[in-house]
């Protein structure tokens, strides 16, 4: 690597000699059309580049142009959020007067499409944008949660309500079975790990751009198969330093629980009716009846959220900067859980002659205190609250933690005495250097190098007084300390040429080289024998041959790299016909010797129909009408091991001696998964641009799907990851925005977006019956991924209380047989979206958003435990009180003496929900008031998150969780397995002050 960096440096040094030639300076003022007041913070971009400046507090700007750009074709783009962008051909002028009107035409919006920015009319692909301002104040620990319901085609499902937990994000359906399905996240040109966003401050982000089809993602072709989310951080605004301070304070509470467990009276009655397993005497019953513990109330609390952020920005026409700092402190609704985050950011951009130099950097530190979820283990507080009998108390008469009769752990003891702390340090930054070649106007070079660094230090303590602390070697508690760090750098070097031929032709051609390399290391230890004076490393008892306290140590590491060469061309004719082409070649370290390299390409065209002469008569109806289509391919190499194609031996230890153990079989033919997408869409605006709509159809097919080729188990392995199989996702996306009322003082707008996605398996391994059945799931050709494959439950026979099922002939039978399993829906979500509205009256604003999901199924494994009469010794769901007891009784719960079958539709539920995601009420003080106290702007606001969820799902939350503390995205789709940490219902109050 050193070699390459050096080369670039030499290259840039020799380029610097060219920088001395003189350019010209353009100055001007940007005003708001309605008021003629200067508009601050307007971005002034040189078209086709990412360089430019922005207006100062009086709306004035000054742009020094290198000779290379000072040509007659020079076009500047003026844009500001909420205002219609303008393209201005500068010509010979050096002083410009620009006025911007409120945005009514979507085609003039500036879109960040990855390495470049484009005006929406030029875009040939499928791109959705979420403005950072819309979500920057939502009190989510991890920013992607706030994007739920805001972009068509993007399904965001919270895995967990633990503060800082990451959500699962799917763009246009699940495109892989074994490979990764998360989109690629790019922050300022640098790939950031999709597993931890909670140490980034969402208030620093200017825009989120969701790239969905092949031509849009082709610039990230080797990783773009699952879509790309491009995030840009805020840029400084020239002028006197402006300060912005936001503060929020609020509360989180538990959502409604729809799975009720028994109270003491019910539970004791149930035990009596089912054999009195603890042989309670009448005296016992009388004593226990006086107790009725609500274990939910014992474990949960009202959490407090605090959020402060301070931003300063300023600069002059040559150099702009933005600095920010934030403190975010969110308590979870489970005691002793929460997230504390501290972040800082500095973005600087400077122009000198033909050079533009920039730096974006952020660093953050977070502390996560977590609890286990999505596991059916008994030593988990979130399970214990369901399974502990209501006649048990958290404390006994002496004030000690109660040890329960049933052997269930005491949830309060676990959460108070055991800790799981993770401290994360994160830095993301990039530097870039751009050079405009003076000798050939339109030619520019740019190199951008950035890195994403994350380190985690974990501290998990199992106190010797708790059941899990007794279950460790030596039986006297355990302290596990771990450290891991991961660093990935991305280096992109490009040459671009931009040229305008006459008035009708515009052309941009770019060549790129990109290098991505990531490496991680980890180590840790587990020590035993606590219980002395210390609850940290000092408390670990050294091991001897007989005390079982010998500590375990570990370490690991991995690395991977990608190398890409690609070319992009974009040609526009008459400002209304556009064509984009991309071709690329990618190499990945992960693949087999035979298939390291692959080619990807795509093409897209768009046509602004409303600009045609023949549309003139219809221009009052169609203010804007654009059609577009694209086709192309991109790759996926995520989700498999870094050395997946190799035969691997790993460390193995027996009797204190180290050895080797075969871990993985070789597959030198392993290659990229390839997703080929066709996209077609229409964008239109009507009613003077006040109603804007877009509709898109897509059909994407994943081939060379990573699947497990089955092996004879006598090899010692079950399968080998190979490229076999194909998968299809096709669907329709729809988005509608309307400014229903728009007057000087009052405005009302509404928006709606929804997506219908159909997922279908096209080909699996082998011929004939090649279903892949895994528990209650099946993957079958012609059906959706992750379909449920269970026996249909047909209630209870009133005569004998036996469970009944439907067999394949739709006849009722009392015999459970796996051969009667049928497909009954899928875990994949077919229909989802969001809608919202905004009302403004003078300084008042009310803004709300709903999101919904429909058509998926959830297998509620949680119920298979609390509705299983086998566990009569532990607490059970209240519905079991209806179980069959006598002939003739009509009920849906079978007799308790029959073994319960779990693989039936009895435990399958609809995943549909409608969620009131966000409500924001704010009031901005009039300027004449704020000016009295020398403030630029003062806004007070109140907002609510997850205020209500409408669902029939029997649990806390129909959005599913991961089998990890937090963070992992490898969850089983559509299954509630055990403990769930529900999404927070948060209400906050805040103040925003500008100086």
């Amino acid at each position: 690597m050193r070699k390459i960096l050096l080369l670039h440096l030499v290259l840039l040094l020799c380029l610097y000699q060219q920088a001395m030639a003189q350019g010209r300076t353009i100055t001007g003022t940007v005003t708001e059309q309605a008021t003629a007041k200067g508009l601050p913070g307007v971005s002034v971009l040189i078209k086709g580049t990412t360089s430019g400046t922005s207006t100062d507090s009086d709306g004035q700007f000054r742009l020094s142009l290198p000779v290379a750009q000072a040509n007659e074709n020079l076009t500047l783009i003026f844009s500001l959020i909420g205002m219609a962008s303008q393209e201005v051909v500068v010509g010979g002028r050096n002083l410009l007067q620009i006025s911007l009107a409120p945005d009514s035409r979507q085609l003039s919006e500036v879109v960040v499409t990855g390495y470049t920015t484009q005006i929406r009319r030029e875009v040939t692909g499928s791109v959705a944008t979420v403005v950072g301002e819309e979500v920057s104040l939502t009190p989510n620990g991890s920013f992607e949660q706030a994007l739920q319901g805001r972009a068509p085609g993007m399904l965001v499902q919270a895995n967990s309500g633990q503060p800082g937990a990451t959500a699962s994000v799917l763009i246009r359906g699940r495109g892989s079975v074994l490979g990764g399905t998360q989109p690629l996240f790019i922050l300022d040109g640098v790939e950031i790990s999709a597993t931890d966003f909670s140490t980034l401050n969402p208030a620093d982000f200017e825009t989120y751009t969701v790239l969905k089809d092949a031509i849009s993602t082709s610039q990230y072709g080797s990783r773009g198969a699952n879509g790309v989310v491009v995030i840009t951080s805020k840029k400084g605004v020239a002028g006197a330093t402006r300060l912005q301070y936001n503060v929020q304070y609020g509360f989180s509470t538990l959502p409604e629980n729809r799975l009720r467990v028994m109270n003491t009276e019910e539970k004791l009655a149930y035990e009596m009716a089912n054999g009195n397993p603890y042989r309670w005497s009448a005296d016992d019953i009388a004593r226990l009846s006086n107790i009725n513990t609500n274990w939910e109330k014992v474990l949960f609390r009202t959490g407090v959220t605090k959020n402060h952020s301070l931003t300063a920005s300023g600069g002059n026409d040559k150099t702009t900067y933005i600095l920010s700092g934030s403190v975010f402190d969110q308590e979870g609704t489970v005691r002793n859980t929460g997230l504390q985050r501290y972040t800082g950011r500095a973005n600087v951009e400077s122009t000198a002659g033909n050079f533009t130099f920039g730096l974006n950097s952020t660093f953050g530190y977070s502390e996560f205190t977590n609890t286990y979820e999505a596991t059916t283990s008994i030593n988990v507080p979130l399970n214990a609250i369901r399974w502990t009998n209501p006649y048990e108390t958290p404390f006994d008469e002496e004030g000690n933690y109660t040890q329960t009769r049933a052997g269930q752990p005491n949830a309060l003891e676990l959460i108070n005495e055991n800790t799981a702390l993770r401290q994360q340090l994160k830095g993301v930054g990039n530097i870039y250097l751009e050079y405009q070649v003076p000798a050939l106007p339109g030619l520019s070079f740019r190199t951008n190098w950035g890195g994403d660094y994350t380190s985690n230090e974990s501290n998990v303590l199992l106190d010797p007084s708790t059941a899990p602390g007794r279950g460790v070697p030596g039986g006297r508690g355990q302290l596990t300390r771990g450290y891991n760090r991961f660093f990935r750098y991305t280096g992109t070097t490009s040459a671009s040429y931009l040229h305008q031929f006459g008035t009708d032709h515009s052309l941009r051609v770019s060549l790129f080289n990109e290098i991505i390399k990531g490496a991680g290391r980890s180590f840790g230890f587990t020590g035993y024998g606590l219980g002395g004076p210390f609850e940290n490393e000092a408390g670990i008892t050294p091991g001897t041959a007989t005390n079982d306290f010998i500590p375990a140590v570990n370490g690991d590491g991995t690395s991977h790299a990608l190398l890409s060469y690609f070319a992009m061309a974009h040609y526009g004719f008459k400002n209304r016909y556009y064509i984009s082409l991309t071709g690329r070649r990618d190499g990945s370290s992960r693949f087999g010797l035979n298939n390291k390299w692959a080619n990807f390409g795509s093409v897209g065209v768009s046509w602004v129909v409303s600009d045609e002469a023949f549309m003139e008569n219809l221009s009052s109806l169609f203010n804007e009408l654009k059609v577009k289509t694209s086709y192309g391919s991109s790759g996926n190499q995520a989700g498999i091991g870094d050395f997946q194609s190799m035969e691997l031996y790993g460390r193995s230890v027996y009797n204190g001696v180290s050895g080797l153990q075969q871990l993985q079989l070789p597959n030198p033919d392993l290659q990229w998964e390839r997703r080929t997408t066709f996209n077609a869409g229409i964008e239109l605006a009507t009613w003077q641009g006040r109603v804007r709509a877009s509709i898109e159809y897509y059909n994407s097919r994943t081939t060379n799907l990573f699947l497990n080729r089955q092996l004879s188990r006598t090899t010692g392995f079950s399968d080998l990851i190979s490229n076999i199989g194909a998968l299809q996702n096709q669907g329709v996306e729809y988005a509608l925005d309307a400014d229903l009322i728009r007057t000087k003082d009052f405005s009302w707008s509404a928006n709606l977006n929804f997506t219908y996605n159909q997922n279908k398996i096209k080909r699996l391994v082998g011929e004939g019956d090649n279903d892949i059945v895994n528990g209650v799931y099946i993957n079958r050709e012609g059906e959706s991924l992750n379909s449920f494959y269970v026996v249909r439950y047909a209630g209870v026979n009133p005569d004998n209380g036996n469970a009944q099922y439907l067999n394949l002939n739709n006849e009722v039978t009392e015999t459970y047989s796996p051969t009667d399993r049928v497909l009954v829906g899928s875990a994949e979500v077919p229909f989802f979206g969001g809608f919202g509205t905004t009302l403004r009256y003078k300084g008042f604003e009310v803004n709300t958003l709903f999101s919904f999901v429909q058509g998926n199924k959830i297998y509620n494994e949680d119920r298979t435990n609390v509705e299983n009469p086998w566990f009569v010794g532990d607490n059970l769901a209240a519905v079991l009180l209806n179980e069959w007891r006598e002939p003739g009784q009509v009920t849906n719960i079978p007799r308790p003496t029959q073994a319960m079958r779990t693989g039936t539709t009895r435990f399958l539920e609809a995943g549909d929900f409608l969620r009131w995601r966000n409500l924001m009420v704010s009031y901005t003080l009039p300027q004449h008031l704020t000016q009295v106290v020398r403030l630029r702007q003062v806004t007070v606001f109140a907002q609510g998150q997850n205020l209500a969820t409408f669902t029939k799902f029997q649990g806390f939350d129909p959005e599913m969780a991961t089998p990890e503390l937090t963070g992992a995205r490898s969850r089983v789709p559509g299954q509630l397995a055990g403990a769930q940490y529900p999404a927070l219902r948060t209400i906050t109050f805040g103040l925003s002050v500008g100086l």
């Binding site: 390459i4 290259l11 060219q18 283990s377 040890q403 329960t404 009769r405 049933a406 052997g407 752990p409 070649v437 000798a439 050939l440 007794r470 279950g471 460790v472 039986g475 080289n513 390399k517 587990t526 041959a545 007989t546 005390n547 079982d548 010998i550 500590p551 375990a552 370490g555 590491g557 991977h560 190398l563 190499g587 370290s589 050395f643 035969e647 691997l648 031996y649 193995s652 230890v653 027996y654 009797n655 204190g656 180290s658 050895g659 080797l660 153990q661 075969q662 871990l663 089955q710 004879s712 188990r713 006598t714 090899t715 010692g716 392995f717 059945v773 796996p818 086998w870 010794g873 003496t897």
Partner: protein, 497 residues
Amino acid sequence: MKLYKLIIGLSMGCAVSLTACKDIIEIEPEYQRAGSSKGFSTLNEHEFALTGAYALFRASGYYGNGTHNTGAWAALPDMMADDLVQTVEDFGNWNTQANWTYAADEADIELSWVAAYSVIAQANLTLRNIEQFEATNPKRVNRIKGQALAIRAMVHFDLLRFWGESYERTATALGVPYKTTVDVEDLPERLSVKETYDHIFDDLEEAELLLADVDNVMNTATNRAYIDQTATHALLARVHLYAKDYEAAENFASRVIAVIPLANQAGFSGIWQDIYPANAEVIWKVTHSAGEGNVGLGIHIGSANRNLFRPATHLEATFNKPNDIRFVSYFGSRESSSNAPVYPGGSGAPGNRRIVTKYLGRGTTLDNLTDWKVLRTGEMYLIRAEARAKQGGAKLVAALADLNALRAARIRNYVPVVIGDEQALLEAIALERRKELFAEGHRWFDLKRSMRAISRPDVEVASASVTLTPAAREWAWPIPQGEIDVNPNIVQTTGYR
């Protein structure tokens, strides 16, 4: 002119950086070792691979416990029989096996099939091309190769114990595939029981020869973690007993007994707590250190005090409780509060919740961390007694002597008995076997090789199965559906087709 220079510079820069770049995606793992289709190139690697084979015995599905399965060759054979009783506290995770309701799609059965064949695969990797070092380092090769062959034979025998349709030495009924090569595309067929035995004996006999001449001492008296020549003799004794070659079983058992005597009464309880150096009469054990899994978790979880399986009342009733040292070593009482103490034997305990105390942990800890004892001398006495009694005639006296010797070692103030009748003696030996080897993974196989019938006199859970007839298909496990789907050469066990 300047532009011209620039383009030259740029293209040269790219050209040089391109070749440098290519290396970027050539990455070798640092924390794993990349393998080669040719196998290992040093004898050290063969020895490393052998260590890997031993470690795989701890896998969940072999002797270890997983979240939803318990060691198939550890306590499961007792749970599937009549001396361990499923309680209402059980999670029901291995219900299908404990209550004989398994079908070909049973995941736990597939897990055990894969666990066994992965030990075999690791043994075969150890053996592949090891001959290349025979000339330069013969004794070391003997040691490595002998162990790998013994492991391979023993694991195939364990497969035969569950999946074999018969234990008869010459039976043409279905046995199991015998794997001796490394080939991921191999689709082997099931051998007959006879052919499976042939391979097992070939490997064990070769191992026995090789292990006679090795480069260093493999085990110490206090830690017998490796299969040495004595352990191979013990394996041969066990396999010969199943194959009904009683003379050979007797001879091999005698050779072991001569080397490793029974524990004395003072040291006996220490066997189950791995108390050093008293770990007496253990011939081979799979050692477990902290973090390497637990044994016996499927019976009683010591830390959580969850009693999943309890000892059957009828078995406890057969013990001479005050004098039999096995009684206080194997059984205890414990109240059901999570940190309740354990009362070994049960005297003085409040309540009557009976637990198995064999696998609670080392010393006094209740973490279920102990070594798994695969072979011990007590079994050798029982093998020899049974083998001698089966031979009858003059050997009945010797068989009775073995029985009395074992009892004298276990029971204080034992007065030797006299049993003249062969059938009565065999029954006494079988009962002693039940008591001595309780919860050590023998009962299901002993029933399968003798009467092939179960009738559980003591059940606690309403839905528990009670009887299993000799004709039941469940005496042999089904080949896992995953194997059937992919391997056209394999034949499903009778009754599951």
